[in-house]
């Protein structure tokens, strides 16, 4: 089973974690002024890249803290984990060449 490195607890089994969707989706600055369509975009529309993707994960069975991870959606490899207060990954990091699966 794949081990995921929790930024607090260290490497733990994948089944201890739960997925929280795309990371760094900003809450609307003026929520009252949004149209229904804009709300729908904020609530439901997410990126679906093939390759590196910044995601939120929660370590349910351990420290129960949220953290962010960059995961390759093609290989399921966790490239990097970082805490919520760490800086966002740069666009170049997310777009960088993928490591091969072999």
């Amino acid at each position: 089973m794949q081990l995921i490195e929790c930024p607090w607890c260290g490497p733990r089994e994948e089944t201890e974690f739960s997925y929280g969707g795309q990371a760094h989706v900003p809450y609307p600055e003026q929520p009252g002024e949004l149209s229904d369509e804009q709300w729908a975009h904020y609530v439901f529309y997410r990126d679906n890249p093939k390759g590196r993707f910044a995601e939120r994960w929660n370590h349910n069975t351990g420290c129960r803290r949220w953290f962010n991870a960059i995961r390759d959606t093609a290989t399921y490899r966790f490239e990097r984990v970082y805490r919520l207060d760490d800086p966002q990954p740069s666009a170049t990091e997310l777009a960088g060449p993928r490591r091969s699966t072999s």
Binding site: L3, W8, C9, G10, R12, E13, T15, E16, T61, C63
Partner: protein, 194 residues
């Protein structure tokens, strides 16, 4: 008038099986212990001492505090156990300490019970159910870990070279007891298995 309800240990039914287990692994159910969860932001707890012990800030560690243990559960969360204090008194004592710094304490005595696992093969038994590095050089006395053991979420404490405490939710205790007995069988006295 209703009969007085007698408090029974969740593992009452497993105690005879634990007692029979002789050999390289011992399992015991510890009696009820008062426990409280402490929440406080790290920045505010600088020189705060709980029963003479500073809050452990390193992840996956625990420290003795008074008659119990102070266990790291998260960057702003700790668990204090105390066999000798009533749950209400423990909560009150901690709230008095934590309120001035904006923290909180809650009695969670009914949440978990404690199992004691000992013997030279205890690490082998635990290693069957989790992926933690349990090497004696890494998982030394004073280390703790929150993980899934078998299918149950536990807090695992290294008390000594061959001595571990396993804190598990009461409702999962029966499952974990069966799991531990099964995992210990191969290290048990041969007369038991024949």
């Amino acid at each position: 008038m209703a009969d007085q309800l007698a408090r029974t240990h969740p593992l009452e039914a497993w105690l005879p099986a634990f007692a029979e287990l002789t050999g390289a692994v011992r399992i015991d159910a510890e009696p009820f212990v008062s426990m409280a969860v402490l929440r406080a932001a790290r920045a505010t707890t600088g020189d705060l001492r709980i029963r003479g012990t500073a809050l452990p800030t390193a992840p996956n560690t625990w420290a003795p505090a008074g008659d119990g243990r102070l266990i790291w559960l998260g960057p702003d969360e700790w668990l204090l156990t105390s066999p000798g204090t009533a749950p209400e008194a423990l909560e009150e004592e901690l709230q008095t300490l934590l309120r001035p710094v904006g923290g909180s304490a809650a009695d969670v005595s009914a949440q978990r019970i404690s199992l004691r696992l000992g013997g030279p093969q205890a690490r082998q038994v635990l290693a069957k159910g989790c992926s933690i590095d349990l090497h004696p050089r890494v998982f030394t006395a004073g280390q703790s870990t929150q993980t899934a053991l078998g299918q149950a979420a536990v807090v695992l404490l290294a008390l000594d070279e061959d001595e571990f405490a396993v804190l598990v939710r009461s409702s999962f205790a029966g499952y974990l007891a069966s799991w531990l007995l099964d995992a210990s069988l191969e290290h048990a006295d041969p007369a038991l298995t024949s």
